[in-house]
């Protein structure tokens, strides 16, 4: 190879090395693929289910007979899902008894928040707690999940049905 050829190649590489840092553009800011046009909603209230379904008509008396013990659903003390003592009581001798009203079953919503709670990730939301309590037994019976009937026939009334007298 002639000297000229070698020098030309070397010159080309020098240009390439020098230009390399300036070549290439940053990829444009990634647009969220598949995002709908217009604004994305922020936090959506779980009340959306109330639009889809009417409230559930729950026969407590019947379930008392089948459940056996209160803590099957009201898991304040005892049972697998029972919270720790500190979850409801302050661990302080003087206030221990006063912190929680004895004899009162706390409603689910006092511990299970209706919307997403980043501070209590291991605790199901209110909707999830309800569904888990019901499905615990009704799934075993072969209803939810495998039953082709779906949500409205099993427990929920359609909001249209709920409105009809």
């Amino acid at each position: 190879m002639k000297t000229k050829a070698v020098l030309t190649i070397a010159l080309c590489w020098m240009v390439a090395i020098t230009a390399a840092p300036y070549a290439g553009t940053e990829a444009p800011t990634a647009r969220q693929a598949g995002s709908p046009k217009g604004k994305m909603p922020g936090t959506v209230l779980l009340g959306s289910l109330a639009k889809k379904y009417g409230p559930v008509k729950f026969d407590h008396e019947k379930h008392v007979g089948t459940a056996g013990s209160c803590d099957a659903c009201h898991h304040q003390h005892g049972g697998e899902q029972a919270p720790s003592c500190g979850g409801c009581h302050t661990i302080d001798a003087s206030s221990f008894r006063k912190n929680v009203q004895l004899g009162r079953i706390r409603p689910c919503r006092e511990c299970h928040s209706a919307s997403y709670n980043a501070g209590k990730l291991d605790r199901p939301t209110l909707s999830a707690a309800y569904h888990r309590a019901c499905i615990k037994c009704h799934r075993e019976v072969g209803s939810v999940g495998t039953d082709p009937k779906g949500c409205t026939e099993m427990c929920h009334e359609n909001s249209a049905q709920a409105k009809t007298p």
Partner: protein
């Protein structure tokens, strides 16, 4: 003085020798290569594993899916469809007959749920949600020639359809076969996959699937926190869960974490994935390529020129 050695193997060298122009002596060539190789390796970046440790992003989010809770209601599929403005499916979301065959994400379904038999409890099948797992070090981002994928500090791996040219290397690279190709569109190729509802996360919300799950099987939160929660659940209920969080280390870890009551191999999860990110197979030598391509020809040319001059004088 060394005699020019003709290349007995044939090829382009021989022509140069016959005309009387100088050839590179084989020993000098090898010597030159060794010198250049040493120089290049010395100059190569010592830590090619630039992103191996993601502790720089401690707030990255994850999704913990508890397969022992999922009841196969497909609310997540329905919510994902609505949140992303996807076309209405051929089969409605409350139809359970879709479980008869195993499905995968498609261009119009970023997530699907599949049903598996439960050896522990035959009456209660296991349902598995499938979608992009938003890997910590995504193979799709590594394979893409045009940098269409980005791992965001928040956790989701996002895709930029404006630079994609439809090569589909990402589909080959993904160990979970997550990216789906929009075969319907000829002129605007688009690979689609779950976005972990990045827009909703940035606006302070949570992904649509997690929000819609009626039994709370999907938990959205910081990945580090979710790992602790998952370990706690396994510790508290050792008979309920298999002692593994799928996604903790697979292919370098994923944002999507799973807990299951049966071994993951029974649920079609890939179990042969290495613990290290797949990109680490290529990161090392590929990071040296630019240096090699610039340095070697220059140095080789110098060696050659120096040798040629030496022979001419001698």
């Amino acid at each position: 003085m060394e005699k020019p050695v003709k290349d007995a193997g044939g090829g382009s060298e021989r022509g140069g020798g016959k005309v009387g122009k100088a050839t590179v002596n084989r020993r000098d060539f090898l010597r030159g290569m060794a010198v250049v190789g040493g120089a290049a390796l010395l100059g190569a970046p010592s830590d090619a594993e630039a992103l191996h440790d993601l502790t720089g992003w401690p707030d990255r989010m994850g999704m913990l899916t508890d397969l022992t809770e999922c009841v196969g209601c497909r609310s997540c599929e329905s919510a994902c469809n609505a949140a992303n403005g996807l076309p209405a499916p051929e089969v409605p979301f409350d139809e359970k007959s879709v479980f008869e065959r195993k499905r995968r994400p498609t261009a119009s379904a970023y997530t699907v749920v599949n049903r598996y038999g439960n050896p522990k409890n035959p009456g209660n099948p296991i349902y598995r949600k499938v979608q992009c797992n938003h890997c910590e070090e995504p193979s799709c981002a590594s394979a893409c020639p045009v940098h269409a994928y980005t791992k965001t500090p928040e956790g989701p791996v996002l895709y930029n359809k404006d630079v994609c040219f439809g090569c589909r290397y990402c589909m080959i690279a993904c160990p979970y076969y997550a990216p789906a190709y929009d075969y319907e569109s000829a002129l605007e190729p688009k690979v689609v996959k779950c976005t972990m509802c990045y827009g909703r996360i940035k606006a302070g919300g949570i992904p649509a699937c997690a929000e819609s799950c009626p039994v709370g099987a999907i938990t959205f939160g910081k990945r580090e926190k979710l790992l602790k929660i998952a370990r706690n659940r396994i510790r508290k209920f050792p008979d309920r869960y298999v002692d593994q969080i799928y996604g903790e280390v697979e292919a370098g870890g994923t944002s999507w974490l799973y807990l299951s009551g049966v071994p993951f191999g029974q649920l079609d999860y890939p179990t042969n994935l290495p613990r290290r990110p797949i990109v680490e197979n290529t990161k090392g030598f590929l990071s040296v390529v630019p240096l090699v391509l610039t340095l070697w020809p220059a140095l080789l040319g110098l060696c050659y020129t120096a040798n040629r001059n030496k022979e001419e004088e001698g």
